[in-house]
Structures are given as C-alpha cells and as structure tokens.
C-alpha cells in the first residue's frame, strides 16, 4: 500500500521548483493535493492531470496571493468546503532575496515577510483547526540554511527564514498533544529557478563550503520530505532538518 493512500495535502508554491517536486512525490504515494500558487498555469494543469491519471489521486490547483490574508482565507474556505481531512501542510512558497539591507526598500521587505513568514503563519492557524479536530496532522515549513548563515545580503531573507524556524520550534510544543507535528527543513542551494537570486557575482560561493559541492536537486529534498511525513517519524517534532550534505 502506498504511504499516503487516501491522505490529503496542501502544498504552497506548488507550481514549480521544490513545491512541484513535492507534489509529484506525494501523488506517487497516493496523496491527494491541493496545489496552491499565485497565477493560473496551463503547464502545471497538464502536469497535474498526468499525475492524477498515473496515480488515481486528485491534484486541485488553487490560485492564492499569499501576500494577502483575505486571499489565503478564500483559498482555505475552498479547501474546507470539501469537507475532507487535511492531513499534511507543506508551507513551501517563498520569495528569495539577496541584497544589501540599506539598498532594499521597506515595501519589498514587507512583501517578502508577508509570503515567507506571515502566509505560513496564517495558513497554519487555519489548517490547525482541522488538524486539531482530527487529532492528527503533519506540517512541514520550508526554511533554509540561510536562517543560520551570516553573509552580506542575507539580512532580510535569512531573518525571515530564521523567524520561520523559531515559529516552527515553538509551535511544535503547542500542537504535539493534539496529534500534530510541526517540523522544518532547511535546504541549502536548490537547483531551481530561484537559485539564481542567491548566486550573486560568484555562483560557486553558496556551495563552496558544503561537502556536497553542488546544488541540491528538488527531488532529493522532496524524497526527504516524504520520509519526514511518514508515520515512522511521528516522534520527530519541532525539528529543523538541514539538507546540504553537511559542511566542509
């Protein structure tokens, strides 16, 4: 039997990169997915249809502006109206940024925090209502190794991910006795469209100090996420799993 047969997951930022890879692996394990992303995408719709046929699951696209609390609530209402369990929440969507703090507009900082931190908080607060009643659920927040790294240009993105980590760790203490685990993954540089934001003048810099010495493939991280979601991991709670092959 597939690992998540009959389960239902919400994945944000589902239409590309890591989110898309996670959707693919969840579907392969029998999980239905509500795929949240910003703009309608014919390409993703084709991808989703293929997964639906191959794995006999549903993959429903829901367009949500994660910078808008009202849009998030609308998206949640749509999901909640289906009266299905919400077993998994992957807060994956994020805005990447590398830039000197004093050269960054306040408006951009607010927008970045809205998507990277407030959106996961708002969506989690809504979904926890379902999970608490179910007495079961798994939440994974996609943070980043940037949350603990120190380098020029990282003050905004890095602080947003550090906040997401702190949120994960303390929230986990509130949810465990309701049957809900909350964990974070902290990948290093992933081989997706977003990675170019972090390369700066020297594309080798972000990977120079990792033992892996290359960008991580989205599927490699999705495989780890799938394992973390397993029932065998039910005692893993409030953890931050660094995924970069280690440092050298």
């Amino acid at each position: 039997m597939r690992a998540f047969e009959g389960k239902n997951a919400i994945v944000t930022g589902a239409n590309r990169g890591l989110g898309k890879a996670i959707v693919k692996e969840l579907a392969a394990q029998g999980c239905n997915v509500w795929a949240i992303y910003r703009h309608e995408s014919e390409e993703f719709n084709c991808f989703a249809s293929k997964l639906e046929s191959e794995h006999s699951v549903f993959i429903k696209s829901i367009t949500v502006d994660l910078a808008s609390e009202e849009s998030i609530k609308d998206g949640y209402r749509f999901i909640s109206a289906e009266k299905k369990t919400i077993d998994i929440l992957i807060n994956n969507a994020g805005i990447g940024h590398m830039g000197l703090f004093q050269m960054t507009k306040t408006e951009f900082i607010r927008d970045l925090y809205a998507v990277n931190l407030f959106a996961p908080m708002i969506l989690t607060q809504l979904v926890l209502r379902n999970m608490s009643r179910q007495k079961s659920g798994k939440i994974i927040n996609v943070a980043s190794t940037a949350s603990s790294e120190v380098y020029e240009g990282n003050s905004i993105y890095g602080s947003s991910k550090a906040a997401l980590v702190a949120f994960t760790q303390s929230l986990a203490a509130e949810t465990f006795n309701n049957g809900v685990t909350v964990n974070a993954i902290a990948p290093g540089l992933i081989n997706t469209d977003m990675s170019c934001v972090f390369e700066g003048k020297d594309p080798e810099e972000p990977i120079r100090h990792t033992a892996l010495g290359r960008k991580i493939e989205a599927k490699e991280i999705a495989d780890i996420v799938i394992n973390l979601l397993s029932d065998k991991m039910k005692l893993i709670n409030g953890a931050v799993v660094t995924i970069n092959g280690g440092h050298k």
């Binding site: 809504l126 209502r129 608490s132």
Partner: protein, 79 residues
Amino acid sequence: MTNLEKYNQAFIESLEVTADQLGDLKYQAITSWDSVGHMALVAAIENAFDIMMDTDDIIDLNSYEKGKEILNKNYSIEF
C-alpha cells in the same frame, strides 16, 4: 433545535458543563474552558451553525454571553 439550544448544546458538550452554569460562564473561569477546551468549543459552534469563525472572533469569544453577541453581529445568527 433553536439557535439558542444549539449554542447551549455546544457549550454543554464541549466544556462538560450543565445548563444552569451557562449564564455566567467565562473563559478560564472553569478548568474545562482552557485553551484546549476553547478550540473544542469553537469547533462545536462552527459545526452547529455551519460557519467558519474568524480568528479575531475566536479570540474575542471569552464568555457565554460574548459568544452570542459575536455570532449575532458577525454571523447573523439570531437568538
């Protein structure tokens, strides 16, 4: 069931109280109405009236009487 009966039932079942305790009931005034009990109460109210309460309303619902006020004002539930 009238709306008042549904509302009372939500309190009685989720907080394990009796009908005569309802009038003066306030959040954290009894052991069963702690934060966990509160979420169970909210779930019961939402199910009873088929509504989805806003987070601000959930937080503001701090007494039996206040709850009626909120449901009436924000969800058009008449008692």
